[in-house]
Amino acid sequence: AVARGCGGFWRRVWQCGAGVPALAPRGQRAVACNARGGAVPAGKSGIASWVPVVGLEIHAQISSNSKLFSGSQVQFAAPPNSLVSFFDASLPGTLPVLNRRCVEAAVMTGLALNCSINKKSLFDRKHYFYADLPAGYQITQQRVPIAVNGSLSYSLCIDNKMSQMVTKTVRIKQIQLEQDSGKSLHDDTRSQTLVDLNRAGVGLMEVVMEPDMCCGEEAAAAVRELQLILQTLGSSQAVMAEGQLRVDANVSVHHPGEPYGVRTEVKNINSVRFLAKAVDYEIQRQIEELENGGTILNETRAFDSKLGCTVPMRDKEGKQDYRFMPEPNLPPLILYDAKSLPANMNHQQVVNIDWIHERLPDLPSVKRAKLVEQYGILPEHSFTLLNEDGLTEFFENVVKQTQMKPKKVIGWILNDLLSYLKQHSLTAKESPVSSFLLAELLNLLDKKEISSTAAKQASTFLILLYVLAELWKAEGKTCLEIVKEKKLELLQDEKELEQICQAVIDGQESEVTMTVVG
């Protein structure tokens, strides 16, 4: 919807870009994006063309029992200030003690993103005064981060029908370990600020991406892929709504062949959808600003999801000097590989990169390739399967239990089941129709025990099936029995089918509602 919404604008932008030769590294991407746009007259200025440049900084909260440097528990939505150790509150005399699990999560993530892992990395203090930063500084890795020079491949479709996908790569500059801050809640009516330190000191991986992207859709696709990778690794739950994955986007525009423009940083983006919106809005805003003779300020902006636009943030006025300094209370973080691991070292006390490497799970790209190969489904279908939480497992379970060809099964799952689930905001795991029931239904269909016309009314059918299952479950009847009992065999008349459904639902309304909600 985002891309479509500003399609006219994009066409204007990239049409211009496409015509200019020798765009250096950016040009190719601009052209690639342009493929979607088609030929449309240039913008107001006629000659000017713009190349947008997008880089991302992503903070992923590490999934760990305790915080990065203290023993406090990590938990979402706990009572305020209930998870705060003396260190988290920066009581004088307390010292940081590095959490091994957080280091392993960062190494895992670094390896999954093709980074080289630094065998020796360092911690630094970054100073600024803020109510939710009790020590007056954040411990981070400014000089030598734990992982550097990686890459992330992601795919996106270049037309609206999802049938043509391109794979792109964004370079990963570095991954650094750092502390999360607490939360400030501003109570304007009583003009006071309340501070919750539960989040203070939780481990973060900051993934810094090079500015290799050029539109909101690319940024969104890259972040979505990163999110899948983190979730696959278990290094972060990466739920954006819970703040476990937070994205800041650096956006600038410039004319081809010229140096990069002044960039703005858009913060507070808390969903992939909003990321695409925010980046596209910001690109458009900057172009319009420049075309109207204005200038771009190097500033921090926030994305207002209600208004769908970015606005300047007030709290960072003036130039900040973070006065970086080495963290003197933490020795350099030393990691080992099979070669460098000292023989007499207690393996509980060291992190072995090779050991972690050997145990990396299949990454999403590998999983997709396997799905395509094993089931003969289209690549884009494999994307959808992985993008939806639990859908791959659901699909594979159905395939296991039915004689229907996977190629056909995927259609039922992606077209009928998924749209039903989306309508009701359910994940595959919450599906009221079990993989077993769906498999049984598909078997009936495959054996022509019910008509495909009837089956085509799938969403209705599935609800019906579900209700029936609920009603007959206690008596242990099978799908076939239900179908026979309800005379659904080769049922031709849609209306009749609907009537049956309705009758069933009316009779058992409360139970239906409850189960759907549950």
Partner: protein, 525 residues
């Protein structure tokens, strides 16, 4: 059995033999604290909890199950170590009234071994100073100011009976701890040592002051000055006692990642010591400008003592030591700027009433909470850390620090076992004279002989050596190899035996009147 080593806390033998009970001992110390109150050595006296601890110790002795040599021994702790339930102020308005919820690891270790914590000792605000004169509770007075030795030799000269004009400083910043040990109010005290803060007051107060190797003793719970140089210091009446306390504190602490993993084996110092196989280095750069002729001649005599005992004594060079002061200034203030950032009035400590905005509250809190010395160091530290200055100051200072440390590595690599140097340039100066110079100038001068050991993380100890012509203590410093505390203390013990430093003849009764007055003015000033 543990006592056969001789002087290890002689009082411990008395406790074991029942000649004195822990409660009696504690009460005696508490009353001594009262009669010497005019020294202003203590900020907080924890009478109630001390007596309770003594009672518990007494129970253990009665059952014949004391926890060790330290059981029942009254100790004092510098007021920059966290103590659960007892105020920890750092002699600053910022932390006045602050009661920590936890014990510093070193405090916990002492308590776990039965030591009786009498109270918290005075210091320069946040340990920033070399006189113990710049704390919010007023200056500490050197007990030797009130000794017969000082009076007999100095008061005549000054033609003045006015003690107010003549009392001398303790040195610092652990002056309260040094004065507490020196005036017999406790048997051992903890100080901290960042640039000489334990050894300097130990020298001026005539007590043993040990700065262990960086990383040997946990800093958890020590409110930091310079994290990369701070070490808990040990002040005792003799070297043997220092070895006992060291043994009870040393070792890895999971709460301090900079402590070494290796197990520390506590040791007893031998009574028969042979120094003939030793090689003693005399660093020529310690002939610093301003070194008093008295101290120079004592230093020479000390070297001769070793020579005469068959040791090899040789001049060595630590060429980068002269850059130590300026280097320290940059590194210290930078870390201070960072460490002090947490005092914003939100979570704990002083909070200003000015609360129009968070920023105004921060600024007012920090202006009201810190003295000029602390604020000055924060300002310069932040200046050195600014992006445009970082390379020129901080990075350079770090490189110089490495050069200073390498000097020591080279010297020790050339076969030298121990370095022998003066601890201070002169004996203690009268307070009235001391405050003529500002804190920065004083600190720069006074740390000159002690600082380099902190830069290099090396163990060093002050051993009281003799009295000056004015009747004030003078000490010499031994610097050892990293983690070679046993060798260092053994040499120190041998030296201690040779020099037979006199016992202080403290005249306290006369002063008990002036005391209460002084206390009042100090706590309300």
């Amino acid at each position: 059995a543990a006592l056969k080593g001789g002087m290890r806390f002689q009082v411990s033998a008395a406790l074991r033999e029942g000649r004195v009970t822990p409660t009696e001992l504690c009460q005696r110390c508490l009353s001594r604290i009262k009669t010497t109150k005019f020294l202003n050595a203590y900020i907080t006296v924890a009478e109630e909890s001390a007596l309770k601890q003594a009672e518990e110790s007494e129970d253990r002795y009665r059952r014949g199950q004391p926890l060790g040599v330290l059981d029942g021994i009254p100790i004092a702790v510098k007021d920059n170590f966290n103590t659960a339930g007892i105020e920890t102020t750092c002699a600053s308005n910022m932390l006045k009234g602050y009661i920590s919820p936890y014990n510093a690891t070193v405090v916990q270790k002492l308590l776990d071994q039965g030591a009786v914590l009498l109270g918290k000792t005075n210091l320069d605000e946040f340990a920033m100073g070399s006189g113990s004169t710049d704390g919010v509770f007023g200056p500490v007075r050197n007990p030797w100011s009130y000794s017969r030795q000082y009076k007999e030799r100095s008061v005549l000269k000054s033609h003045s009976e006015d003690e107010e004009a003549n009392w001398v400083i303790t040195g610092g910043s652990s002056g309260g701890s040094a004065a507490a040990v020196s005036s017999f109010t406790c048997f051992a005290a903890l100080g901290s040592d960042t640039g000489g803060s334990t050894r300097n007051p130990a020298a001026h107060c005539g007590v043993v002051g040990l700065k262990p190797t960086y990383g040997l003793i946990s800093r958890h719970g020590l409110i930091p000055l310079v994290n990369s140089m701070d070490v808990p210091g040990i002040l005792t009446r003799c070297v043997d006692d220092a070895a006992v306390v060291l043994g009870s504190l040393a070792g890895h602490d999971p709460k301090d990642s900079t402590t070494v993993q290796d197990n520390f084996k506590s040791f007893e110092l031998p009574n028969l010591i042979d120094v003939s196989k030793l090689s003693i280095g005399i660093p020529k750069e310690y002939h610093a400008p301003g070194l008093s002729s008295e101290i120079l001649s004592l230093w020479t005599k000390a070297a001769d003592l070793f020579k005469n005992a068959g040791a090899k004594v040789m001049e060595v060079s630590l060429p980068h030591t002269r850059y130590s002061i300026v280097c320290y200034h940059v590194l210290c203030t930078a870390e201070v700027a960072s460490n002090m950032a947490r005092f914003d009035g939100l979570e704990y400590g002083h909070r200003s009433g000015m609360n129009k905005s968070t920023e105004i509250m921060y600024a007012a809190t920090r202006r009201e909470g810190f003295n000029d010395v602390v604020r000055g160091r924060i300002l310069s530290g932040n200046y050195f850390l600014l992006k445009q200055n970082y390379e020129n100051y901080f990075i350079k200072a770090q490189k110089v620090r490495r050069l200073i440390a390498n000097d020591f590595v080279k010297v020790f690599g050339s076969g030298v076992d121990i370095l022998l140097t003066p601890t201070t340039l002169s004996d203690a100066v009268p307070y009235m004279e001391f405050i003529k110079e500002d804190n920065r100038t004083r600190s720069a001068q006074d740390d000159i002989l002690t600082q380099a050991a902190n830069m290099a993380g090396l163990p060093a100890i002050n051993v009281p050596t003799a009295l000056s012509q004015r009747g004030l203590p003078v000490g010499l410093q031994f610097i050892g190899r990293s983690f070679q505390e046993k060798q260092l203390l053994t040499v120190a013990k041998w030296f201690e035996k040779q020099v037979k430093f006199p016992v202080i003849q403290l005249e306290v009764k006369k002063h008990s009147h002036g005391v209460s007055q002084h206390q009042k003015s100090a706590s309300f000033s």
